[in-house]
Amino acid sequence: MSVDRRKFLKIAGLASLGLALNPSDFILMSPAEASSGKSLPSSGERLGMTIDVRKFKNDADYQRIIDACHSIHNVPTLIPEKNDIKNEVKWIWTDTYGHTFPEQINEYHPQDIKSKKFPLLCNHCDHPPCVRVCPTKATFKSKNGIVSQDPHRCIGCRFCMAACPYGSRSFNWVDPRPYIAKRDPSFPTRTMGVVEKCTFCVERLAKGLQPACVEVSKGAMVFGNLADAHSKLRRVLSTHYTLRRKPAVGTMPSVFYVIGGQDYAG
């Protein structure tokens, strides 16, 4: 039944648009699929991440993952003190529980949850709205689930920023190069007028490495293949209570936040 419905919606979607070049980015979910929370693929590769905020003990723990990412990706430091906050570019950063899960907070939550900082980054959604709206395919989804951005094709229309429900995208309002603290020659810098965001360290994955933030997280972040039932990632997910941001928007993020449950012993 759900297959039929899915098929029907797919055909209807295609028919109404004439022809979708990459239908996989455009398929609508059946209501059942959207509400069940069932999105783990059973085969192939679907990269994802868990973030156990309980393992971040102090500010240095957060700063380490941010620095690890921003330093190797030549992310400019447009600092708030210089009133540059409106031009800010960030790939990974932190915010409170209430800002991370704005529809899932209640006033009686324990104070430590409410004041806890949560690392934020691109969710590499199953159904990424940014990919759906991009008029040039500068933003696209790879087979392994990574949502990538081609800065050379981006026209800077910022439709993806309006579409992203997570505020994960940054635009280069000014030339970023003068603001790069220490340029890493092994990674390209960006030009003014294009959008950028976290790439799940696709360049490190190609070398068999973990994403930079995961590597320095001292086990607080686990990265792996959601499609592999035996992966470490899946074991964390099946033994902990996790949340994804804004489940109501149907994007199916592949970043999960560990809120409670037993400690992962492996």
Binding site: K86, P102, P135, P165
Partner: protein
């Protein structure tokens, strides 16, 4: 016929020079933006679209409104519009030109804008918007120019034009529907995620566009030999009245859904726009101005006695235009970005360069409009047909 634009009164040339000076200022401000990036605007990571995109959205509506003259004249054979329908078509040409320029000045990488055509992406509404806007520009230019040419030669317009005219009717609806879809299909923006968006866009367009056209027609009557006649003006007044009522009704539907359901996400943008959140209330005075102008315009428009008075009708139309300009050319786009995805409020206000560029684009549109209207008036003055018999 273009030569008609090269011979004109002192008043005509004064207007052209004034518009050209605004365009020049806008051009230099744009060079500044081109050199230093969109950081020279008031836009930010949180409010990533601003004045440019909101002007674009408003002007798509002005362009689409030509259909309010085309339908009565061509489908219902309403002869009273015979002199004025071309004003609507040329207003659409000017408005679409502005739309395209506003999109262009909003691009972070304007030199790559052709990527939209080079890598056509059918799942992107922006791609479709580019298509329908270009098509609408060509349609109105061809239709307006060909009918005027036939009028000048005192012959009937060629037969092939009729299908294009009929095509332009659904096309006009499409440009504003597709523009509404830019907003109405985004899952994370409660203020925009509403099925009535396209209908509301069309209603406000069919009020603001004809309101502007009415004011322009009265200006032409004052300063040239062109006279639209009494009856067409009254008919346009009626169109504006009904469309404005529909528009206000649609807005009230939004307010009901947001506040009766008590869904926080649906209420936040309204709260920000009309009351402010956490003391952040930059748009509040503007939004209430829009409400007051809108209500005042309806008081002047609905009683037939008031509307029949051209002075009152003109003021009402100016009110309608500015009320909707604030509502759509400001509140709708900015309101969608507030609060941001984290539930916090970042405010937006256009900067000086941004405002000068915006004025410059409007000046380009009005220059196009001035030249096209000048040609229309001159052709008819030569023929002695500048005065409507209605």
């Amino acid at each position: 016929m273009l030569d008609k634009a090269l011979k004109g009164s002192k008043r005509y040339w004064t207007l052209v020079v004034i518009l050209l000076s605004f365009i020049t200022a806008g051009f230099f401000a744009y060079l500044h933006q081109f050199e230093n990036g969109l950081g020279v605007t008031g836009m930010s990571r949180d409010v990533s679209w601003g004045f440019y995109i909101s002007q674009f959205t408003f002007l798509v509506g002005v362009a689409a409104s030509a259909v309010m003259l085309v339908i009565p004249y061509y489908l219902h054979n309403y002869k009273a519009f015979s002199k004025i329908v071309i004003l609507g078509e040329f207003l659409a040409v000017a408005a679409v030109s502005m739309c395209m320029l506003f999109i262009f000045v909003d691009m972070g990488q304007p030199m790559r804008i052709l990527n939209v055509m080079l890598h056509p992406t059918l799942n992107s509404i922006l791609f479709w918007d580019a298509m329908v806007l270009n098509g609408y520009l060509v349609l109105n230019l061809v239709i307006g120019w060909t009918t005027l040419h036939a009028e000048k030669k005192e012959t009937a317009p060629p037969k092939w034009l009729k299908p294009l005219i009929y095509l332009s009717i659904p096309w006009a609806v499409s440009i504003h529907t597709v523009t509404a879809f830019l907003y109405a299909g985004l899952p994370g923006r409660h203020f925009w995620l509403t099925a009535i968006m396209a209908a509301r866009f069309l209603a406000s367009a069919f009020a603001a566009g004809p309101a502007l056209l009415l004011v322009l027609a009265l200006l032409l009557r004052k300063y040239t030999k062109f006279d639209p006649g009494k009856e067409p003006i009254q008919t346009i007044g009626k169109i504006v009245t009904y469309a404005m009522i529909a528009n206000v009704f649609f807005i009230l539907l939004e307010v009901f859904t947001a506040f009766y359901s008590n869904m926080p996400g649906h209420m936040h943008a309204f709260e920000y726009l009309f009351a402010g959140i956490d003391g952040k209330a930059k748009l509040v005075p503007l939004m209430w101005t829009s409400i007051i102008l809108g209500v005042a315009s309806l008081i002047m428009l609905i009683p037939p006695k008031f509307r029949a008075n051209e002075n009152i009708l003109r003021i009402a139309c100016i009110f309608v235009f500015f009320s909707l300009w604030i509502d759509k050319g400001f509140g709708l786009v900015i309101g969608g970005f507030v609060p941001n995805p984290f539930g916090t409020v970042t405010e937006y206000w256009p900067t000086l360069p941004e405002s000068i560029i915006t004025l410059g684009v409007w000046a380009v549109g009005f220059l196009v409009l001035t030249v096209l209207y000048k040609i229309v008036v001159s052709v008819r003055e030569d023929l002695g047909t500048a005065k409507s018999e209605y």
